[in-house]
């Protein structure tokens, strides 16, 4: 049995541990970047997988996110993998794309991701505000878009959560869940980045601990230049080996 209140508590615990308050929307990628000994790998995994979490013996951990999914979904996947990193006793997890299915731990991690990105009290407050503003008891599709944009989660993740918290009834949720919302979001003034994957050239990338480790082993003379380059190329960082291919000089402002 999954204990929702336990998962909620864990989501707040981790927010606190990582220096976030209990209610605000978070920049989860920036947050993960600051976790010590964590390497984050963006990799286009296709249609089956959403993410992978590998815990190393000496505490060098790797989380990989399927970068061919939308940015909103990637944020959810990262929160899901953080559950595996901090609360799952298994050392490895290879996670499937469907939300809310699979083994118990997978369901727990999905629930955790939802609470981590959309804290219960904050969501409740936001919903009350929208209802008061519209003078209506029901949330419209535009309200759901406002919520997913505020918390920066995918449309699916927002609808599943709203239904689960009984803030949307089953019929309304069913009607909304498979609806394409990119154009609707645009029509009320939002950027559509949340609903798109990263550009193809940014889908393979490694950040964090690994890059730092590679610099350290080179600087201390523990590996040759060739080995250093091989290490970076395995981690898709040809930009660091062959130089930046972005145009223009750095702007310091």
């Amino acid at each position: 049995m999954i204990c929702t209140s336990d998962i909620m508590t864990k989501s707040i615990q981790l927010r606190t541990k990582l220096g976030e308050d209990a209610n605000s929307p978070i920049d989860i990628f920036a947050l993960a970047q600051d976790i010590e000994q964590l390497t984050i790998v963006y990799y286009p995994m296709g249609e089956n997988l959403s993410g992978i979490c590998l815990k190393g013996a000496a505490g060098n951990n790797v989380i990989s996110i399927n970068s061919s999914m939308t940015v909103g979904r990637q944020r959810f996947s990262l929160a899901h993998e953080l559950y595996h990193l901090y609360f799952d006793k298994n050392m490895t997890a290879v996670c499937a794309q469907k939300i809310g299915v699979g083994q118990e731990t997978e369901k727990e991690a999905d629930l955790f991701a939802s609470y981590f990105l959309m804290p219960a009290a904050a969501l409740q407050t936001k919903v009350e505000m929208l209802k008061a503003k519209n003078d209506s008891n029901d949330l419209s599709i535009y309200d759901v878009i406002r919520l997913e944009q505020y918390f920066q989660v995918s449309h699916q993740a927002a609808v599943i959560r709203l239904r689960q918290d009984k803030l949307l009834n089953a019929d309304a949720a069913d009607a909304m869940i498979s609806k394409g919302v990119r154009r609707l979001a645009e029509s009320i003034g939002y950027s559509t980045e949340l609903y798109k994957p990263l550009p193809v050239e940014k889908q393979y990338m490694t950040y964090g601990n690994y890059i730092d480790q590679a610099e350290q082993v080179l600087k201390r003379g523990l590996v040759s230049d060739g080995k250093y380059e091989e290490l970076l190329l395995t981690a898709f960082r040809s930009d660091l080996v062959y130089g930046d291919n972005e145009e223009g000089e750095e702007i310091i402002d």
């Binding site: 990799y43 089956n48 992978i52 990989s64 050392m91 523990l222």
Partner: protein, 122 residues
């Protein structure tokens, strides 16, 4: 039979056994592995029975898939934490297995670098 030959034989047997154990622990089928390596399933079956050997390149690919070093095929003890897939073997595609291998390679390198850095501090 010379002594060296005996040791080669036992190494050969060991690799065959390890291949089978790694595969079973991770919940994959022989068909999954055959597909991943781009070979016939009968070759995997024979390799696991010690009747045929796989190329070093293939063993390297398998090591990356399971997230172990090449040496793990010759060691007496199995790694403590076998990789578990959240998908059923039948649903797993070659692309999925390639993704897992790519990330495992990065994780193994990270461990390798951590070992180097820890060794220097001692």
């Amino acid at each position: 039979m010379t002594r060296e030959r005996v040791s080669d034989m036992s190494k050969f047997k060991m690799i065959a056994e390890r291949m089978k154990e790694f595969r079973k622990n991770s919940g994959l089928s022989q068909a999954n592995i055959a597909c991943f390596l781009g070979v016939d399933q009968s070759l995997i079956s024979k390799a696991e029975n010690g009747e045929r050997s796989l190329s070093v390149e293939m063993l390297e690919k398998l090591a990356a898939l399971y997230g172990v070093s090449m040496l793990a095929f010759e060691e007496d003890t199995l790694p403590i934490n076998p990789l578990k897939f959240a998908l059923r073997a039948g649903e797993l595609t070659t692309a999925d297995m390639e993704a897992v291998s790519a990330i495992n390679r990065i994780a193994l390198n990270s461990e390798f670098m951590a070992d180097l850095l820890a060794g220097e501090q001692r």
